[in-house]
């Protein structure tokens, strides 16, 4: 009885630095402050994101062969924690493999919008950089006009090592700059906002 009373007496008004579970909103805010402010959860998020970059298949061109070879036993990109996945809703990386036509640009943006943040993009091959051999075609878009691209890989097509290197570079970018944790904290990415395409790519889709 005396211990109970003393515990009640000790509780008194809410103290700084203690976690109360009565008010869930207040408790959540306090937990966030504690974890993100003191325990550097942000670094944990960056570390976790860097080793779970799951690319979605977006094979628009011949670079898809090199993409497949990168995850084959010889080069084995899964050792970086990257696992190709089918659904965009469970992925956080998009590897744009080659030429993107105007109609496919709409699909690219739709896939990008479906992915949960923090999300990243790698543009692979000469076509994804500046059009490649289709540089003067009337029917292509540059992928960086549609989605914000983090890492560019030159080559026609790039070797699988180059794609593995791009994944390692992206991991370095995430962990050094803290991209993932900042994105979660602020709710949007301020250094690289999603571009607005110059023309209406999805007009065909709405009919």
């Amino acid at each position: 009885m005396s211990t109970l009373r003393s515990r009640e007496a000790r509780a008194g008004p809410p103290e700084e630095g203690r976690l109360y579970v009565g008010n869930l909103d207040a408790a959540a805010r306090r937990a966030r402050e504690l974890l993100l402010g003191k325990m550097k959860l942000g670094k944990l998020v960056d570390w976790g994101t860097a080793f779970s970059l799951w690319p979605v298949h977006f094979t628009t061109s011949c670079c898809g062969c090199e993409f497949a070879a990168t995850w084959s036993p010889r080069f084995d990109a899964e050792r970086y924690g990257a696992l190709p996945w089918l659904s965009p809703r469970q992925t956080n990386l998009i590897v744009i493999e080659g030429t993107v036509t105007k109609k496919m640009g709409c699909a690219l943006r739709l896939v990008w919008e479906q992915m949960p943040h923090p999300k990243f993009a790698i543009a692979m091959g000469a076509c994804a950089l500046d059009g490649g051999i289709f540089y003067n075609s009337y029917n292509i878009v540059r992928p960086w006009e549609v989605v914000p691209v983090d890492v560019f890989i030159p080559g026609c097509p790039p070797r699988p090592e180059a794609l593995a290197r791009a994944i390692v570079e992206l991991q370095r970018l995430i962990r050094e700059k803290g991209v993932a944790s900042k994105w979660i904290e602020e709710g949007e990415r301020e250094d690289k906002p999603a571009p607005i395409p110059k023309e209406d790519l999805c007009s065909w889709w709405r009919g």
């Binding site: 105007k102 960086w144 007009s203 065909w204």
Partner: protein, 167 residues
Amino acid sequence: MSLDAVRSRAEEALRGVYTGVEEGKGFVAFRVPAERVVEAAEALKSAGFDHVKSVTAVDRPKEGVIEVTYHVSSYSDPELARGIVGITVSLPRDNPRMPSLSRIWVSAEFQEREVFEFFGVVFEGHPDLRPILLIPPLAEKHPLRKDFIVKEEQVYKGGITKLEQPP
């Protein structure tokens, strides 16, 4: 040898309809006037040519015509499957219109849509004449016509060229 059989069967079906014949390797094309193309297609269909392999067009701005070619062949008749028969139609370039053959050969439907967006040929009676590969504002320009100009490759003359940089 095998093409002769195909050619004679097609000639028999198109007797009185065609105005000229062109022959290539494994291929024979019959020139048909635009107003009789449905008649020619029905004759070929009843002669055993049961599908369209491709629909294509050639733009000839000097002569002021667009030539639409249907390549037809057969799956059901092994003798006819050895060669390809073409029907070529010349249309005026300023107003290219012709009756659609997708009622007769269903496999022509998507390819007529392609010719429609790339050359601007209007197929009358087509069930769903919309652009198929291009976005609508681009399809209005008909990019495979000769007067559609694309950016040419230039010779590098030294110095620093200013390129549009990715953000």
